[in-house]
Symmetry: C3
Subunit: 320 residues, 3 copies
């Protein structure tokens, strides 16, 4: 049997690399722990000493101010020392290998690496290396790797869905947009499946849907009319600017016409359906402002829960 690289020998979470392969009880434990942290961020003093004296390194090989900021806030609210490494200007740029960089940071007694990388699998490579060199007390959190996974986004999406819909067992969830290039979609699909969601639908133009959706148990819909019917949860994806100018799509306005979420299209879903988006939004491209700012949107709740979920993940990894 292949060991799950995210779990240690006792079956406890030691890295968060993907929602794929995470047992249901661990997913639920993260969500339950996050619930406790939602309360803390509402308090006057938003700090707890759970990671005091720990060194958390933000290793962003790919720039993302938003995601880095959420991890930095989460770590600081846990009282950790946070070190932001500007990797593009670091030793890696001077020709040092990724694993030599990691070895060096381990030697500085790092406790946790939050890794964002354009290459799918980079956080796995780091986690495997840590195991090989016997650094079992250093933890990796994947903050987005290539098209592969973005597990904390997946988890905060699960938190948001559970918050508004209580459980997953009677839900119909639609994921809409550029699923082919979306690590968020992939992380959501795996988590939703493990948590028992009976119907997951993918909606988007043929060119932006991966071929393996059916074998992941996802129902492919090519138009919004069919896909939104009776939905409880709608997850919109960001359309990357570079896709719009490429060969995959005719134009942003054409895209909006067919796949942009307008009040009219939203009316096809259940009346109490919630609308989610990982941000940053392209208003007028994948989502109409009336929907984005409307009563069914829970997009800012996602952001709030995201801090709590990241605090929960870091806290669990650190052994609390």
């Amino acid at each position: 049997m292949l060991l799950n690289p995210q779990l240690n020998a006792h079956g406890a979470l030691t890295h968060l690399l993907s929602t794929e392969g995470l047992p249901k009880d661990i997913l639920l434990r993260i969500l339950d722990t996050a619930a406790a942290f939602v309360g803390i961020t509402d308090r006057e003093v938003k700090k707890v000493p759970l990671l005091r004296g720990k060194s958390v390194f933000n290793l962003f090989f790919e720039n993302s101010t938003r995601t880095r900021t959420t991890f930095e806030i989460a770590a600081k609210r846990l009282s950790a020392d946070v070190l932001n490494l500007d990797i593009s200007r670091s030793s890696t740029a001077k020709g040092e290998t990724l694993l030599d960089t990691i070895d060096n940071l381990c030697a500085m007694h790092a406790d946790m690496f939050v890794v964002r990388h354009a290459a799918s699998g980079a956080p796995y490579l780091i986690a495997e290396h840590l195991k090989r060199i016997g650094k079992h007390d250093i933890h990796v959190v994947n903050a987005g790797d290539g098209r592969h996974a973005h597990p904390t986004q997946g988890l905060l999406d699960m938190y948001t869905i559970r918050h508004f819909k209580q459980d997953f067992e009677r839900l119909t969830v639609a994921i809409i947009g550029d699923i082919l290039h979306s690590r968020v979609a992939r992380s959501d699909i795996h988590a939703l499946t493990t948590l028992g969601t009976p119907e997951i639908r993918a909606i988007g133009p043929q060119t932006l849907l991966p071929t393996q959706l059916a074998q992941m148990g996802v129902k492919v819909c090519h138009n919004m009319q069919e896909g939104l019917q009776g939905c409880d949860v709608i997850i919109m994806l960001r359309l990357q600017n570079e896709r719009m100018n490429g060969a995959l799509l005719p134009s942003a306005s054409e895209y909006f016409k067919y796949y942009g979420l307008t009040p009219e299209k939203l009316a096809l879903a259940k009346p109490d359906a919630i609308v989610m988006h990982p941000g940053p939004m392209n208003r007028g491209v994948e989502i109409d402002s009336e929907v984005a700012d409307g009563p069914q949107a829970v997009i800012l709740d996602q952001v709030t829960f995201g801090i709590a979920v990241r605090m929960a993940v870091m806290s669990i990894l650190a052994g609390n």
Copy 2:
């Protein structure tokens, strides 16, 4: 009656956007509070726990390492968590609107935004938005917006003047240089006026003086001989490099000849006149080194008081 956007319903300071429109008692309260913090920065341990657990976001849409650093020090000495957002590389750069960025940071439970922006009015826009969405416990500090205002610089200038001259009611203050493009000059003039300064003079080439000075109660002088006569306080402004190459001025050496503060020109003022400058100085352009390093210069005192004034502003906004 138009409500003052800087005050809440109870008349307390809730944002610091401009010295314009700030009541005298609030100006004085900030200066008095700063006096207490001047003592703290002299101590062995320069920290107080007034903002412990609070998240202060530095949103510098326009780069200014110096000003960002002063706010970062002030916030850290108040024990806040400081988050520096590299806005030029952030979601705003990915096409997200300014207010969507703000909404996201609010959802992360920000407590304070320190905003620097090239566009006049950007901090007002943010403050109005926070009011509209009911976020009454999130505060905005303007760290410089376009040509409009730089209120903490204005306040630290007032602190410096009061420190050396006790009160404002018998003073003659000269502001010298590129007043047209100076948010510092504007913030100083409003604060000096509210605090009862009887004579404020503006000295500079015609092309660098705004037309509305007279209606602000400022006396326009076109030469240093006339303007410096009998002055108690001399506020030099930085000449931006880009002005010197532009159409507004013949050359830096020409400028220095007419408006540069030399020991000879300084002798026209009162013997105990103080010389101020917001920094960074262009030695040999707007100010002679002999004056900059001389006994009448209080330029470094301004820097020291600046930290205390920023601590005072943040502390008052946070409700202490």
Copy 3:
């Protein structure tokens, strides 16, 4: 008698500018203090409150993410507030002089400057200036100045050697590579000499060896066979990429052939010789991977000891 600019009137360390001229008792005190900090970085909570409330400014005029990170970690583990100044985008870039920048940071009540500068002597200039203006309680740590010195690297190298070889009095140490451009080599040679190392050898191509080695008491060897014979300690230097393309060296592979440390060449040294490298390594240029990852390499120990040594230096300077 010329006063040592690193010591105050009582002979105590007040700046760390170079290992050159540091008395043996001060070198040993730093190493002994570091030993205590090695234990701390192994603990669950890696923080001590020795620098609580102090403001440490990282002034990196030359970019070095690795070195800046080690100082930032060290300062944070001492509970200091750390301010990273992006000097390339700061007031210095706006034409402010270096000493005006320093005056401003002093006025903000800085406690320590960690300075990296491409110009040899820049940290001395700052230290002299602080003395001239009477700021005796502000300390300078040289984090690398031009080709001149990198004293914390020299000290961590001494710590590493003492850790593995107990004392210096019977050792043969070989330094290999581009000694001409290496501040690390210079700092190592001075420290080794003061600590009583009987034989220091320099190995490298003629074009990369400075002329004054003999008068520093260093034996020059032009080939590895001669130089490695009977060595206890081998210090490899990084070959800067720019050297390889220049006129000083034929090619990287040629360099590796003659001066790259391979298992075969390593076998010429004593069987228990240790291999050191300041990082980042160019594998296959100055060092073979088999050596870099082999049992005699202590390269990652150097990194670990480096944090402790920097904590020791900062702590001693701050008067603990």
